[in-house]
Amino acid sequence: MVFKQTFNYLFIVSMLMLPALGLFKFHQYMDYYEMFILVGTGITFIWMSSYWQNFRYLVSSVLVLSFISIFLYEGNLFSGEEQFILKYFLSSQSAIMWMCSLYPLSLLMYWIYLFKKQSFFGNFASQLTWIATTMGFVGLLVRWFESYLISIDVGHIPISNLYEVFVLFCLITALLYLYYEEKMNRKELGAFVLIIITVAVGFILWYTFSKGADAIQPLVPALQSYWMKIHVPANFIGYGAFAIAAMTSIAYLLADKGILNSRLPSLIILDDLTYKAIAIGFIFFTIATILGAAWAAEAWGGYWSWDPKETWALIVWLNYAGWLHLRLVKGLRGPILAWWSVIGLIITTFAFLGVNLFLSGLHSYGEL
């Protein structure tokens, strides 16, 4: 008990000290907005961990491992291929590869848990998801550092291209899922949510090995802005939540047809979780779209250019607004909403991926 309390106090202190340290060391490289974002992140983490203890552990382990990695690099980018721990664990690519191996494994464990109902598998699956998420965040933070090792002007937060945001998607979806898993104290849905995460992992692996997408590229001029640090994460909280809603809806539809219904939570719980996920996804997606418009107004000459990406974001927004309308205003429940949520994910995927790949516009930051 005492250990936990001390840890919590230390955590709060570090969430204030680390940004302060960052400001002190790097303030000449940051504009006011970025300083604000840094401090705000620390405060947000304090707030989030106040109601979610495990989040504290995640942030702490990610920071500790990342700092070890940074230390081991000794300012030389090539240590990543020579130093043992970096090469096999803590360089950004290795960490991300660990993430890529552990998520599918945890998917397997969740399915075994779903069928065997032995809490060992459920706990193991959950732990694997936590570890994979930790390694993924370490991978991104170290990648951030590595980009600065290449050159000062190449350094940037690693959420700037299709490869990096796919990693971010896995992490945010997993994190949101783990929160719900803990709150509901039910692990069955891991078998479903981890499916979409594993598909994303598959894409990451293919993209890495056949297109070399893991190479760190410098930022094109349009992306050199503090806006990227808030617009992109907000968008992915939205995408992650919509993904969870869709996976939960799939579970709902199966249970509704009598498949696996003895093993899954009740329809009411599944329905409620879908609603909660879409609700939080919708708020963050709204915020992200507004931030995107504000960014466009600074970079492209107008807050709305009917660019394909912007337009499809509107379509996604209207889609879920409609979903929420039917549920909140008309009181609708049941399979219709579940199907709608699954179709919503297809629309969202097109807005996220399809637009970049198939349609051209100002937003084509990821091409195959």
Partner: protein
């Protein structure tokens, strides 16, 4: 509301069309894609500029009206509800609630009950009805209903802001004829008043292409296939435009050093803008949008590939046309673009890496019969297969890929070696000498056979010089077997190589200090030079342009935006987020407690307008708290 949803669906579909069908392209592209009939059909529907289409804007307006209607109808109700507490409830109805509890109490006290409810964040009112029963009506979270007003008001405000920036006024002016789109290329002074928009134009997004050192006071507002001239309240001047590059060669930033002078006050502002930091002045924002060549000056050496002449000089400027007469043929040059940086995958060590290979210039050449080819020639030689080559790409149409002419660089890395070589090929005396030497190697004693051989080699060389390898290939007797033909062809190639070698040897013996051909072995150079010479017959032009020097002038592409609706859109957005938050995260709970005059128990009933899973637990919790307090 159903009408609004239908309207929204239309907007959704129109938006999707707008993303799939590339918007605002030049009309010829659409004609090519769809054919004349469908092109006209789609044009009538306004699909090439969906978002400014009349019907699209009409739908938006309907949406605003219908939403305003909804809000104005429902808001008074909501606001009234806010104050109401509904104290006239009956026992029977309370008992029929899903969350209804009958709680026995030992010692009842109103103050304690009120305190408990207040601690649970309820607001309450109490009332004793005519039967003497005590009724307490409490509620919390009714901010939630405000969420409805916020969100829908926000949609209205955002849509109005969007319409403010949707240049409806200009559309009206176009309809009435007071403003007309200009379709021709006119000088500024020739533009009629119907084509000019005043600075008081409410909102616009216009473009300006500014050359380094130039000043402009108007911008171009693109409309359909034509444009308007948008007058500005200030004059924009460009001091310098820069592209900075990363070490990998990719562009790092585009920057323009601007001087903006207010027309009325004469006030000057100097600012460097780049992609994420525009300049706002007098309600207009200036953005770094694109860039172009601004008229780079080129100093060129003109080489005639099919004569022994030395080079002549040509000077030109990008966007200018030149005329040249070669071998009694006239050629018309159009210099279209200059690129200072070209990032290509070039071999460095063992791998290919994106590297900046240096400047290139692009030009179209038309001959007298009207045929035109496009060329892209690079200033510096590039490394391929361990040797350096001067590269010039040629294509007949913009849809094709470039085909490349590769001329090997000499031992000094210059093109002079190749040009010397081609000059030697075209020097009859020296050529004869070289052939004699080659013949002498096979027939050291001379004789009749050596004479026949000499004439044969002369014929081969003459054919090669006139038309490359394909010319001599044609002279091979096709009645022979394929194998024999191949043997003859390869022996021709060998002979040509030997002559080439001798040409260079002769040159070197006459110019002892020259290091032009000072390779370790000039075998490869000769081979590649012959190949290059052969390829020149497919080049479409007997002329090779070598870029010696240039003065780089750039143009910065600026976008100028006046957007008064922006403030309202942002305001509406904040309201929207607040509203969504209220609607989703604030839960309205109503609670009634009835203590009948003659009953020891109290009746507790709760309801919420969003039936949530946690509400069951919450109601239970309240009932247990009450039980505990009074027992």
């Amino acid at each position: 509301m159903r009408f609004a949803i239908t309207m929204l669906c239309f907007i959704g579909i129109a938006s999707v069309i707008g993303t799939i069908l590339k918007q605002n392209e030049p009309y010829e592209n659409y004609i090519i894609k769809f054919g004349q009939f469908w092109f006209e059909f789609f044009e009538a529907m306004g699909l090439y500029n969906v978002y400014q289409a009349f019907w699209f804007l009409l739908i938006l307006i309907f949406l605003i009206i219908s939403t305003s209607f909804c809000v104005s109808r429902n808001s008074p109700k909501i606001l009234k509800e806010y104050k109401k507490f509904q104290l006239n409830v009956r026992e029977r109805s309370l008992k029929s609630f899903k969350h209804s509890y009958e709680i026995p109490v030992k010692k009842f006290g109103i103050i304690k009950l009120e305190k408990l409810l207040l601690e649970n964040k309820f607001r309450l009112k109490k009332h004793t009805n005519k039967h003497g029963d005590l009724i307490i009506s409490a509620k919390k979270g009714d901010f939630q209903k405000l969420g409805y007003i916020f969100t829908h008001l926000a949609i209205i405000i955002i849509s109005i802001g969007g319409l403010m920036d949707g240049n409806l006024i200009l559309k009206m002016q176009e309809l009435t004829g007071s403003k007309k789109i200009i379709y021709e290329d006119l000088a500024l002074n020739d533009v009629p008043a119907t084509g000019k928009l005043k600075t008081s134009n409410f909102s616009y997004r216009a473009q300006m292409l500014l050359r380094e050192g130039e000043k402009q006071s108007v911008a171009v507002l693109k409309a359909k296939e034509g444009y308007f001239i948008q007058d500005l309240p200030f004059i924009v001047g460009l001091n310098d435009f820069r592209i900075e590059h990363y070490s990998t060669g990719q562009p790092k930033s585009f920057e323009s050093d601007l001087i903006v002078e207010d027309k009325k006050s004469g006030k000057l502002i100097k600012k460097t803008i780049n992609v994420n930091s525009p300049l706002t002045f007098n309600g207009v924002t200036i953005y770094q949008s694109s860039f172009e060549d601004g008229g780079t000056e080129l100093a060129l050496d003109v080489w005639n590939l099919h004569s022994s002449e030395e080079s002549s000089k040509m000077e030109s400027i990008i966007f200018k046309k030149n005329e040249l007469a070669i071998n009694d043929q006239k050629y018309f040059f159009e210099f279209n673009d200059f690129r200072k940086f070209n990032i290509l995958d070039i071999e460095i060590g063992n791998e290919k890496k994106p590297t900046n290979v240096g400047p290139s210039f692009i030009y179209k050449v038309r001959n007298e019969s009207g045929q035109a080819n496009e060329y892209q020639t690079y200033q510096y030689p590039m490394k391929m297969d361990n040797s350096f080559y001067f590269i010039s790409g040629m294509r007949k149409t913009p849809q094709e890929d470039y085909q490349y002419l590769k001329l090997p660089a000499d031992a000094n890395g210059e093109i002079n070696g190749f040009m010397l070589f081609k000059a030697l090929l075209h020097s009859p005396q020296i050529l004869k000498n070289a052939i004699k030497r080659v013949v002498g190697q096979s027939f050291p004693d001379g004789g009749e056979r050596s004479q026949v051989y000499f004439e044969g080699v002369e014929r081969v060389m003459s054919g090669f010089i006139q038309g490359g390898y394909s010319q001599i290939a044609e002279s091979i007797d096709t009645s022979l077997s394929i194998e024999d033909q191949k043997r003859i062809a390869s022996s021709y190639i060998k002979i040509i190589f030997l002559v080439g070698k001798e040409l260079i040897a002769i040159y070197q013996s006459n110019n002892l200090e020259t290091d032009t051909f000072l390779f370790e072995s000039n075998h490869k150079f000769i081979q590649e030079a012959l190949t290059g010479f052969n390829d020149s017959f497919f080049y479409g032009l007997p002329i090779f342009l070598e870029l010696k020097n240039y003065v780089h002038v750039q143009s910065s592409g600026l976008q100028l935006t006046k957007s008064p609706g922006q403030f309202w859109v942002y305001l509406g957005s904040i309201l929207l987020v607040l509203g969504i938050f209220c609607m989703i995260y604030i839960q309205e709970v109503r609670l009634w407690i009835m203590k009948k005059k003659d009953n020891k128990n109290i009746l507790l009933a709760l309801t919420t307008n969003r039936h949530r899973l946690e509400f069951d637990q919450f109601s239970l919790k309240i009932s247990q708290q009450i039980k505990k307090t009074f027992n």
